[in-house]
């Protein structure tokens, strides 16, 4: 694995990163770079597709916010041949979501170079606006300085998003080019690593001098993952406890209004049109009455829990745990928590890890006539059941 270090002046990571992005954009075969930037309006950070190196001044991959999972954007950019190659700067969960979409034939990997940055986490969208809305100056550098020095990341009483606190994938292992922060002396240096042949050919054109990975890095990553895993397991336990019966599950989703925002925000929910907005769920008026008759009263809208369970059924094998669903919920339902808890078990059941590698086959895609042992539905319910009941 080719490894290099680029210099950082006065601990100003952003400038160093921007310079590095410019050098990438200068490369002959890279036509554009997709990178999160501060937009002039309202201080928000959004993915931008940049072709002019000068336009990279606001780029900020370290800002602790991502209003949407950019995998969806990359999927849109790559669904059909573009005729040019672009670099995309993504968080690890975005890379993993994109890998899933490629496997689902919703994007193509041929024309992109994935640039991943060690992820320090993010706040919920609303929280971030609350924090930065009141702040003068450069919040990002305050954040990363605190984050990299191991301080508690609470600002204005707002904590990192639960999805990030429970994320055991802070390092973009699937990237072609990795930009490393953990275990690196970020006051002076950034780590650049080419992790794939594609990454290596880009690396070779970048006028970098080879170096070694800092020996502290593995330890730093390990301890971070350890901390996150502990949080995650506690979250799983609590979520399982809160959903281990149909009644509790109903309570869990009591506030759901079928706005379907979570599915719109979900990077791996790739259907053109969700089955829940098609005629399938457009029940006859007499049907509602019949249901009401049966029990005396029914909650409206109907099919709320059914919707979530169906979405889990369809997507839990591909869930990367980015937390955008929770982010998107107008009623603050902890959607991610349940999704992750179930996904963890389903993915384990199939020995599959969403987004880990483009080489792994999607579970369930191979079915043979003589293979009746593991029926598709059976295996899925197995996963859900164990997730819901908390049994292994």
């Amino acid at each position: 694995m080719k490894t290099a270090k680029i210099n950082v002046k006065d601990g100003d990571l952003l400038t160093a990163l921007r310079d590095f992005f410019r050098s990438i954009l200068h490369l002959e075969d890279i036509s554009a770079i997709l990178v999160p930037q501060h937009l002039p309006a309202k201080n928000v950070v959004m993915p931008t597709l940049v072709t002019d190196p000068k336009q990279l001044n606001g780029s900020d991959p370290l800002a602790p916010v991502f209003p949407l999972n950019a995998a969806k954007i990359v999927s849109r950019l790559t669904r059909k041949p573009m005729g040019a190659k672009i670099a995309v700067v993504l968080r690890p969960c975005e890379i993993r979501a994109f890998v899933e979409l490629v496997k689902l034939k919703q994007g193509r990997i041929e024309e992109v170079v994935l640039v991943g940055v060690d992820c320090l986490g993010a706040f919920k969208n609303g929280d971030y606006i609350q924090i930065v809305g009141k702040k003068e100056g450069d919040f990002t550098s305050r954040f990363y300085t605190d984050a990299l020095s191991g301080k508690k990341l609470t600002f204005e009483g707002f904590d990192l998003a639960p999805a990030c606190k429970a994320c055991e994938n802070p390092v973009p292992n699937g990237a072609d080019i990795l930009i490393g922060l953990f275990g690196v002396d970020t006051n002076n240096q950034l780590l650049i690593q080419a992790r794939t042949p594609k990454g290596e050919s880009l690396y070779d054109n970048l006028d970098l001098s080879d170096s070694e990975e800092p020996s502290e890095r593995p330890g730093a990553i390990e301890s971070l993952i350890h901390e996150r895993t502990a949080y995650r397991d506690k979250m799983f336990a609590e979520t399982t406890e809160a959903t281990n019966s149909l009644e509790k599950l109903n309570t869990y989703f009591a506030e759901c209004i079928n706005c379907y925002n979570c599915r719109v925000a979900c990077p791996v929910c790739y259907c053109k049109e969700c089955v829940f907005v098609t005629d399938v769920f457009n029940h006859d008026p007499v049907q509602y009455l019949r249901w009401a008759n049966r029990k005396g009263a029914i909650k409206m809208p109907t099919d709320t829990v059914f919707y979530h369970i169906t979405r889990i059924a369809h997507m839990s094998t591909s869930c990367v745990g980015c937390g955008q669903c929770t982010n998107a919920c107008p009623n603050d339902i902890p959607v991610m928590e349940l999704f992750r808890a179930v996904s963890y078990h389903t993915q384990k059941a199939f020995e599959y890890e969403a987004g880990r590698s483009i080489e792994d086959d999607l579970p369930l895609s191979v079915f043979r006539e003589d293979d009746s042992e593991m029926c598709i539905r059976d295996s899925w319910w197995l996963g859900l059941e164990s997730a819901v009941s908390g049994r292994p």
Binding site: Y270, E273, T278, D279, R290, R294
Partner: protein, 1147 residues
């Protein structure tokens, strides 16, 4: 017009043959002497290698809607198949293509149309007998269900066991049981005997059976009776004073030539009785007799006479699939104590013990004392390979059966079971068998003990069994087992001899059907063919292959006799288009007499049903199963003109044909008529009180509502659009001009379809060009010459020699294949089906120093060299043959099936030419399966020395000056031996010749060894998973000439099923794509097991080939947003069905 075909025996091969013929368009009558279909398979729940059943995979794949898609173990419902159970063939007249056959059915004392399966009769029946379904391990009553799972599953009465007490008749709620049939009263019998006691007891016995009986004390008195009254049968005593029986017979016959007479005689006058038969008596009874011998005989005569009154059935050909039966180990020298020690069971009994419907409900415990099984032994070759009991043959199936049972038992026991199989040779000669065995041994630690166990000792106290066996060192080992399973061999089926006599077919020396040389199905009599194991011992897959081949032979008979070729497809009835009308449903509930009305609140029911605006009418009808009831329904429909009809009654399966008729009469597409089973609900409600309480009524009401509601939901969404169909190009491509390719080409061309036959070499014939004769001594040259001439002269066969297929694509009905000829260059052929007959060859080897000496040759070279005299057995002193060269070990871990018999063939041939020569055969397990076992015995007798070797210590071959030194370890004496041989012959086995990329371009897949991979190894053995592609011969698997021909004819039969249609209709249940919702994620394409889906890159759409789609629903399951749907299983429809079903459980 299509001739009806008769299939005798409804076991697995009978079903296969019947389905093949029915799919072809023939009407088929399928008869079986037992009261259920499925033969022995109805008792076997698990099949290797999947260790499951899978019989349903035989259901029709094209024109699926002609057959109900039910579990085949439960029932077979095909519009072209008429099933007659408890029925035997009694006579065959006429000629090929034009037979008249009579059948004799056991009258059923329970009317299946009225039996509702409530089981009340069983509760009152006082007679208990061993249950043959559970191999006698459990008991049953005289009235019983023949199998636990059949549909419809009417009770039947075992007339031999029934005491005619009448209890069941009295309790039957539907009056389905009639113990004494009225018709027997019309059968008058005259008993003539001078002894009073004889007359009286005969009268009493016969009247008990329901016959009308008169008696006469003398000849003149009898004549007097005859003149006054018509009689069907006369029983006449021979020795009577005055006019004796013979005189009476003569006189009576003069006046009443049609009268049937049975003589009664004492031993002393047997000769007179025989004489009497010459002048017209039909049989005689030997005195003294008891009711047990008399009654069955009279009933048989009665049934025969009744059957002869029916006009014989006209059939084109007969397919005899009468199967085999199992050896009964309790006879003879019962050294295993079967029937004496309770824990010695047969393999069939063990199968029942494993079964959930068995005597133990599948619990793995001993029947004798409920002790859980921890250690079980299987003893092989019980009743097989035993000359002492006239079984010098191998039963072929028991080895794999034992391994399977051991594995299933182990799985059932969760591993806590020790298993040992005691065997002589483990005959793993079939496809994938060897790996299955290795897996059993290595992964599942099934123990294989070579050696035959002579007897079993029994510990009276514990019930345990002690087995003493000898290992190679000669040490005697005693081992204790909880249970011992005897792997019983095969015997000719009961009644084989009678059947053979009836159709005048020859049997082989062991009593099995004898087919003509090189034909797996034909006997010496044209128009009568054999299927399945009736002609020898076969496992399921071979039986299925043979059955298809038999179907082909039968169909050929019709063709020869001028039968039509392409089925007449009745044009689809056109019905008024109602797709734009809102549903207007009429619900007709059959009250089954007044049974249901007692349980129901009809007012409430109507009110609830009518809450659904789709429901227009709710009517209650009496007995829709009767003609009157049905007419009432018809009138109601006429009156109210609904556009959908829901019928609630019993046994929906019997309504298929009626619905069609009703639809045609009232102008409603039959898919808009639905029948739901109310009887099941009425029975399961367990409510039998005369006056149910209000609570109970309301409970039943809601259950009924749920059942009707589900039907209503399905019906509301029913789609009356015509089913799609695919056009078929009625031409075939056969790749490979060996014996298999030629036979399949001929079979197809003989049915009137054009065939392109592609052969790589300059001449046709493949391996037959070097083979000389078979083990049995039949010359192969004649076969080859005759076949080549027939192929070359056939106007419908285009032979392309020197040609190869470069590539192929397309789907069933239309394939495009590019053929390259050495001279003429490439051309593209279009065809509707493809048969791969690319053959195989003797494998190359470098083992055993092959190539280093002229004295080391292969079996193929030996055959050639003996033929052209380059090898002269008279000049050789000793020959060593080494079997399994590179075979039965990874990477070629399969048995080539023919090498052992080839070695025997050559050894016997050489010994015949030079009896002084020493022939040594070094082998691992001698695979002389089936009747080839007798050649093994012959070879031993001829003095051939057999030396077994182990993979761990293979023989060593060293070329020396003028000879070859072979050393090996002889396991019996445990010593190294050395043979200086003049010739070493290597059996290198068979490798297939179909290149993997070519197979893939056809859409076929190959197994790890490069042989064709079947859609399902047992049930669809010559089909590819991709419809329209078939394989036969060595491309399929190693096999001998006759077995290759069987696959060739089977493949042709499977292909003809498609070719005979101009368009093949898809099934009602076919997947569709809603393109507006589709994201093109292609998960459905990966999921489709039949390759019926492709993505069209230009249209950017996923397309479904309706004929290839089998409606399995895999695509719909993987599609997240129901862009892929299954007709008849739409989401909304399913939701409503589930919802209605819940209705019953919620309230």
């Amino acid at each position: 017009m299509y001739k009806r075909q008769l299939v005798v025996g409804a076991g697995i091969s009978g079903i296969r043959a019947a389905l093949d013929l029915a799919e072809f368009g023939y009407g088929v009558t399928l008869v079986d002497r037992s009261p259920h279909i499925g033969g022995v398979l109805s008792q076997l729940d698990y099949q290797f290698p999947t260790d499951r059943c899978g019989m349903c995979k035989m259901l029709p794949m094209v024109n699926r809607d002609a057959s109900s898609q039910y579990c085949l173990r439960k029932g077979l419902f095909h519009e072209n198949i008429e099933i007659r159970l408890s029925t035997e063939l009694v006579s065959v007249e006429g000629e090929p293509g034009n037979f008249q056959v009579s059948l004799r059915g056991q009258p059923n004392l329970v009317d299946p149309a009225r039996c509702i399966g409530c089981g009340e009769c069983v509760k009152v029946c006082p007679v208990e007998v061993p249950d043959s379904f559970n191999a006698g391990l459990s008991g049953r009553k005289a009235v019983y269900l023949p199998v636990p799972h059949a549909i419809p599953n009417a009770y039947i009465i075992d007339t031999n066991a029934c005491s005619r007490c009448g209890e069941c008749e009295a309790i039957c709620p539907t009056g389905a049981i009639k113990l004494l049939e009225e018709v027997r009263k019309n059968f008058r019998i005259l008993v003539v005997d001078d002894e009073l006691i004889m007359r009286d007891s005969l009268k009493a016995w016969l009247e008990d059976e329901g016959f009308a009986v008169d008696i006469a004390a003398s000849g003149p008195e009898a004549m007097n009776h005859l003149s006054k009254q018509a009689y069907e049968l006369m029983l006449a005593d021979i020795k009577m004073p005055g006019m004796d029986g013979v005189e009476l017979l003569q006189k009576a016959k003069e006046i009443f030539p049609d009268l049937s007479v049975v003589m009664m005689t004492a031993y002393a006058t047997v000769e007179t009785a025989v004489e009497a038969m010459k002048i017209g008596a039909m049989d005689y009874l030997l005195k003294p007799f008891d009711p047990d011998t008399l009654i069955p005989m009279i009933i048989r005569i009665y049934q025969d006479l009744e059957a002869s009154k029916e006009s014989p059935m006209e059939v084109g050909a007969l397919v005899l699939c009468a199967g085999t039966s199992y050896f009964d180990p309790s006879g003879g020298n019962n050294t295993y104590g079967y029937g004496i020690y309770p824990n010695v069971v047969t393999s069939l009994e063990f199968e029942r013990i494993l079964s959930g419907t068995g005597p133990n409900k599948g619990r793995l415990v001993r029947l004798s004392d409920n002790k859980p099984l921890r250690k079980v032994a299987w003893l092989q070759c019980v009743g097989s390979r035993d000359i002492q009991i006239d079984a010098d043959y191998c039963s072929s199936i028991c080895c794999m059966h034992a391994i399977k049972e051991a594995l299933v038992a182990k799985e059932r026991a969760g591993g806590a079971l020790e298993t040992a199989i005691f065997y002589m040779d483990m005959r793993t000669f079939g496809k994938s068998f060897q790996r299955y065995r290795d897996q059993a041994e290595i992964e599942h630690s099934v123990r294989f003990e070579k050696g035959r166990v002579h007897s079993i000792l029994h510990d009276e106290n514990s019930g345990d069994l002690i087995i003493r066996h000898v290992d190679y060192s000669g040490a005697c080992i005693e081992e204790i087992f909880d249970m011992v399973v005897l792997s019983v061999g095969q015997r000719p089926a009961l009644g084989t001899t009678a059947l053979a006599e009836l159709v005048e077919m020859p049997l082989n020396q062991w009593g099995f059907g004898q087919t003509e040389p090189f034909s797996p199905t034909r006997i010496n009599k044209e128009g009568i063919v054999l299927g399945g194991s009736f002609s020898g011992l076969k496992d399921i897959s071979e039986s299925v292959i043979q059955a298809s081949a038999a179907a082909l032979s039968a169909s050929r008979v019709i063709h020869a006799a001028g039968g039509s070729l392409s089925p007449e497809i009745t044009p689809a009835d056109s019905f008024p288009d109602i797709s734009q009308e809102p549903p207007k449903v009429m619900i007709a509930v059959c009250t089954c007499g007044d049974l249901l009305l007692k349980l129901l609140d009809t007012e409430q029911l109507i009110r609830c049903l009518k809450t659904d605006p789709a429901v227009d009418q709710v009517a209650f009808l009496e007995q829709t199963c009767t003609v009157t009831g049905w007419e009432n329904l018809f009138e109601l429909v006429e009156k109210h003109k609904p556009n959908r009809i829901l019928i609630g009654s019993c046994l929906p399966y019997v309504f298929t044909q009626k619905i069609k008729e009703l639809g045609q009469r009232v102008g409603l597409n039959p898919v808009l008529i639905e029948v739901v089973d109310l009887m099941l609900m009425a029975q399961s409600s367990k409510l039998k009180a005369e006056t149910p309480s209000a609570d109970e009524i309301s409970k039943i009401n809601s259950e009924l509502l749920a059942v009707l509601g589900t039907g209503l939901a399905r019906l509301k969404w029913a789609d009356p659009n015509p089913v799609p169909s695919e056009k078929i190009l009625q031409q075939a491509l056969v790749v490979g001009g060996g014996i298999a390719g030629m036979f399949s080409a001929l079979a197809i061309a003989d049915h009137g379809f054009q065939v392109d036959l592609i052969e790589k070499e300059e001449i046709l014939g493949g391996n037959l060009n070097w083979l000389q004769r078979t083990l049995e001594g039949h010359p192969t040259k004649t076969l080859l010459e005759e076949t080549v001439i027939r192929v070359e002269k056939h106007p419908l066969i285009n032979v392309h020699t020197h040609s190869q297929v470069l590539s192929s694509y397309g789907q069933v009905g239309r394939f495009y294949s590019t053929i390259e000829n050495n001279e003429k260059g490439a051309v593209t052929l279009e065809h509707g089906v493809t048969i791969l007959a690319t053959g195989g060859a003797e494998a190359d080897t470098t083992s055993y120093n092959y190539g280093s000496s002229e004295a080391i040759v292969t079996q193929k070279e030996l055959e050639r060299k003996i033929h052209d005299d380059t090898i002269d057995p008279n000049r050789l002193g000793s020959i060593v043959m080494i079997q399994c060269v590179d075979s039965r070990q990874e990477p070629r871990n399969y048995c080539s099936r023919i090498c052992c018999t080839t070695a025997l063939k050559h050894a016997l041939n050489i010994k015949e030419k030079n009896p002084e020569i020493n022939v040594y055969i070094l082998y691992r397990d001698l695979m002389t399966y089936g009747f080839t076992e007798s050649y093994y015995t012959q070879a031993r007798k001829a003095g051939v020395i057999f030396i077994q070797y182990d993979l761990a210590e293979k023989p060593q071959v060293t070329p020396m000056d003028g000879s070859v030194r072979v050393t090996a370890v002889e396991p019996i004496i445990g010593q190294k031996i050395r043979i200086d041989a003049d010739l070493v012959v290597l059996a290198t086995g068979i490798v297939p010749k179909l290149p993997r990329d070519l197979a893939e371009s056809f859409g076929a897949t190959l197994d790890p060894d490069g042989f064709f991979e079947e859609a399902e190894s047992k049930w669809r053995p010559v089909d590819s998973l991709k419809e329209g592609i078939f394989a036969c011969g060595l491309a399929h698997s190693p096999r001998n000439i006759t077995e290759s021909i069987a696959t060739a004819e089977a493949a042709a039969q499977r292909a003809l099923r498609i070719l005979s249609y101009e368009r093949i209709p898809a099934g009602k249940v076919v997947a569709e794509v809603r393109h507006s919702l589709c994201n093109l994620c292609e998960r459905c394409i990966e999921a489709c097991p039949y390759g019926a889906r492709v993505v069209d890159p230009d249209l950017e759409k996923v397309l479904v080939n309706a004929a290839m789609c089998q409606g399995c629903g895999s695509c719909a399951t993987v599609c997240p947003n129901s862009a892929s749907t299954l007709a008849g299983f739409l989401d909304q429809q399913m939701f409503e069905v589930i919802d209605s079903a819940l209705e019953g459980t919620y309230s």
